[in-house]
């Protein structure tokens, strides 16, 4: 008890009064709470516009030798006076402004140590550690983890950090990839930027995969007529990284664009199946074809009276067989690109060289597009499977783009072709790039196999939820941010980058301009130029 007594008994007069003065020093921008998975700090409630804190912004917390990074999830009105006192304002405009602030709730991203290594953090910053907006310096470590396919700049809230390009990893791409956005938020623009970066790699001889884009809207080749919107052919600097095929006569006559053809022998009954709604007996008949005919000549054979007779011998009604044959004839007659010769071998070769292959099929119907995509992708998958057995080492992997992917990867779709690529393509080096505005329609199990997600503005809560529930990186905390993304803004989640990165995707036309001005790669000059389409 003695200690207390002496404490209570001041022994000399000077120790009687030791006033502690609390003055209005900065209490804001300091960590006040809360745990390893959530940091909270306070900022003045009346910041000027240019200093306002935004959801998605990244802040850094300096704590001795460590720099923690945290991303803003939410901002709340708060004050040291609990309760709802501020509803009693009564218009007097008199309150303790130093006791009112905004509380920023932030999610830890990780921690940078002295050697600029970035790690997930298992601890939390010391209470009252100072907090500041993350700057270029703190983001430098990110440059080290970025890949080789540039798609945009790092975005801190709505500000750009132009020093830090956001780039995907070629290595992660043979695994599947998804691009998600409500219409008009920038999917097509993203794909063009992505393709441009791939063309650049291909032209420089650094490409690790071929990219196949089948474009039913005719927007990738030359952009939109009479508008600023440019196409892939306008990337003249790296034009040799691109191979184009078109079903459109006027496009196909352009230099460097080949006419797209496929041969009848490349068409399988299951491709035809995609073109129409079939009754159960009709479907049975379709399924039987490959048993009955030679797979290389079935299209010719089935149209002959002899062929139809063989079908009927197998027990199919003549009406069923008639419908089948009539539809096949229709399709062959309508699609002039079905010929005796075929571009597919050429397409495959270009993909295996690591080029971007654009298949331009403007004004084609939805079903016809699926039909074509089905023929091409099966061909590719089969050839990659063969190569795998034969141990073909030099060929590059390949990524097949599917627009409106919910049509073929949906829980309700019956197009097993693409699902089989999704499920087994990876083994053979064939990946899918699914583009859709409705991720909620894509099967969850499939989504969970996507290693790279480019998420742009998604207004529908169910769409976001579907992604959040199946993404490999945790996106749940970014829900508010994804909801508020503006045109061209994205959250990029990919395995080699330690957290989902906020990005602003380049506007294709700007990126194009920049790339076209780049110094020509020396290697190509030495070779004395490149004539890719005459090979």
């Amino acid at each position: 008890m003695q200690t207390i007594e002496t404490q209570a008994q001041p022994d000399n007069a000077t120790s009687l009064l030791k006033p502690k003065v609390i003055e209005g020093k900065d209490t804001t921008y300091r960590i006040v709470s809360r745990n390893v998975s959530e940091y909270q700090f306070i900022v003045p409630f009346n910041l000027p516009d240019e200093e306002r804190v935004e959801v998605g912004q990244i802040f850094s917390i300096n704590d001795q030798g460590l720099t923690y990074l945290a991303r803003v999830l939410n901002i709340e009105h708060s004050s040291n006076y609990d309760g709802h006192w501020d509803t009693t304002m009564k218009g007097t405009q008199f309150f303790d402004s130093d006791q009112i602030f905004n509380r920023v709730v932030a999610e830890p991203l990780g921690c940078i140590n002295k050697n600029l290594e970035f790690k997930k953090s298992r601890t939390l910053p010391t209470k009252f550690s100072p907090v500041s907006r993350a700057e270029r310096e703190e983001f430098k470590f990110l440059s080290q983890v970025m890949g080789d396919i540039e798609v945009g700049y790092l975005r801190n809230g709505s500000r750009l950090v132009e020093e830090i390009p956001v780039a995907l990893h070629s290595d992660a791409i043979d695994h599947h990839m998804g691009v998600f956005a409500t219409t008009g938020m920038g999917k097509s623009n993203f794909m063009k930027v992505f393709a441009a970066s791939c063309m650049r790699l291909a032209a420089q001889g650094d490409s690790k995969f071929g990219l196949l884009i089948v474009d039913p809207h005719g927007e990738y080749l030359k952009g939109k007529r009479n508008s600023q919107v440019k196409g892939l052919v306008h990337l003249t600097r790296y034009r040799e990284g691109l191979a184009c095929y078109s079903t459109d006569r006027s496009n196909a006559t352009d230099p460097g664009v080949e006419e797209l053809t496929i041969s009848e022998s490349e068409i399988f009954p299951e491709d035809i199946a995609l073109l129409y709604e079939w009754s159960a007996p009709q479907r049975d008949a379709l399924d039987a074809i490959s048993r009955i005919f030679d797979p290389n000549s079935w299209l010719d054979e089935i149209k002959t009276p002899d062929g139809m007779a063989r079908m009927m011998q197998e027990g199919f009604k003549d009406s069923t067989v008639n419908v089948l044959v009539r539809r096949i004839k229709n399709e062959l007659g309508r699609n002039s690109y079905i010929k005796k010769r075929s571009s597919l071998a050429n397409i495959l070769a270009n993909l295996q060289k690591g080029k971007v292959v654009l298949v331009d099929i403007p004004r084609m119907s939805d079903r016809s597009e699926l039909f074509l995509l089905s023929v091409i992708s099966r061909y590719i998958l089969d050839e990659y499977k063969k190569d795998e057995k034969e141990g073909e080492e030099s060929r590059k992997n390949c990524l097949i783009t599917i627009e409106e992917a919910q049509r073929v990867l949906g829980a309700a779709s019956n197009t097993s072709r693409f699902e089989s690529i999704a499920r087994e393509g990876r083994k053979f080096g064939v990946g899918l790039c699914a583009i859709t505005q409705q991720p909620k329609l894509i099967e969850k199990q499939l989504l969970s196999q996507f290693n790279t997600l480019v998420v742009m503005g998604l207004g529908d809560r169910n769409d976001r939820q579907q992604l959040e529930e199946s993404a490999k990186q945790d996106l749940t905390s970014m829900d508010t941010e994804i909801q508020t993304l503006e045109k061209g803004e994205a959250v990029v989640s990919t395995l080699n980058i330690p957290f989902p990165v906020p990005a602003r995707i380049h506007r294709y036309e700007d990126y194009l301009h920049r790339l076209n001005l780049e110094d020509p790669p020396e290697r190509l000059i030495k070779k004395g130029g490149f004539k890719p389409f005459l090979e």
Partner: protein, 339 residues
């Protein structure tokens, strides 16, 4: 459950205490007249407003002595802007009548030039209240030292103090008067009463009456010559009832030393703009802030208790021993664990 009859009797009594049926009886019995209410004219004031407050939390007790955490200090405003808060005392106090000499005397002597006071007969709770009050007076004294002529010092409470500390107040009054600083005690609760058959709350009823007589006005009323049951009234000053701001329904008991007698209206005029904050409309805001900044929260009390226990353990006391000595039997009955 309670007897219905008794419940309704009590309810009726409370109604009679609270509601003021008709002004006449109030005016007649208390001697208050409409003219006694003086309307406050707001005036501009750019001096400093000091608000003194204190706080006291019981940490533990072992029947013959208490340990309290005591804090005193003041908040300073200029107009509506907080300037600083000063904590003048923030420490444990061991309340034991036999130690009161060593506890109190050095302060009384050093700050107020007073000789020892006799507190040997005081009970433990009262002892810690005295100590807190004394520390509040030390805070007033410190505020006085830092104030300038024309400034205002507000004290949370009343100047109607216990006998032993009355000399301290007298010293403070004379220093404040010399320095030409206004000193007001503003009481949130008051036992001023009126009435013959039952005890009626004077401050509330005055406030209700004024709302009818002078709606929307800020005013003050001197109790001089009114038939009010006040305390002993021997502390050397004047008691008023004040409505600091016209938008509020509240009124407060305000004690001021004799030397301010003539300046009341002028001083209160300087406080009207300062008494209409969002946080506590009708109450001088500096007092609100002083309360907030100086109060000892439950967590602080608990933390102090833990530090004390740790200190005891370090001195070799077993936890069992500490518990035996310090656990309040009420805690056992209430099934609370504090140790």
């Amino acid at each position: 459950m309670e007897d219905r009859g008794r419940l309704s009797i009590i309810a009726e009594l409370i109604r009679d205490h609270i509601s003021l049926d008709g002004l006449d009886q109030f005016l007649c019995q208390t001697g208050v007249e409409k003219n006694d209410f003086v309307v406050i004219q707001p005036s501009d004031f750019s001096g400093e407003i000091f608000a003194i407050d204190g706080s006291n939390a019981a940490i533990c007790s072992y029947l013959t002595a208490n340990v309290n955490l005591i804090r005193a200090g003041y908040a300073v405003y200029r107009k509506r802007d907080w300037q600083r808060t000063v904590i003048t005392f923030d420490d444990l106090f061991l309340a034991d009548p036999k130690l009161s000499g060593t506890n109190f005397d050095p302060y009384l002597e050093h700050f107020f030039g007073l000789n020892a006071i006799n507190l040997k007969e005081s009970d433990l709770d009262r002892l810690s209240s005295y100590y807190r009050e004394m520390q509040e007076y030390v805070a007033i004294n410190d505020a006085l030292n830092r104030s300038h002529p024309g400034d205002i010092i507000l004290y949370d409470g009343s100047f109607e103090v216990f006998e032993p500390l009355r000399d301290v107040l007298a010293t403070i009054f004379s220093r404040a008067s010399e320095k030409e600083v206004a000193l007001l005690a503003v009481a949130k609760s008051s036992s001023l009463s009126w009435g013959m058959a039952i005890t009626l709350p004077f401050v509330q009823h005055t406030s209700m009456a004024a709302s009818q007589l002078l709606p929307g006005e800020a005013w003050y009323l001197s109790l001089k010559g009114k038939k009010v049951d006040a305390g002993q009234g021997k502390w050397g000053g004047q008691t008023y009832v004040v409505r600091f701001c016209g938008e509020s329904e509240h009124a407060f008991r305000v004690d001021v030393p004799e030397y301010l007698g003539d300046d009341m209206g002028q001083i209160l005029g300087k406080l009207t703009d300062h008494s209409c904050s969002a946080e506590c409309l009708g109450y001088p805001h500096a007092l609100f802030r002083a309360h907030r900044d100086i109060r000892i929260t439950e967590q602080e009390g608990a933390a102090a208790r833990e530090r004390l226990i740790a200190g005891l353990s370090e001195l070799g006391m077993a936890h069992k021993e500490i518990r035996m000595l310090m656990q309040d039997y009420h805690d056992i009955l209430e099934m609370r664990t504090r140790f």
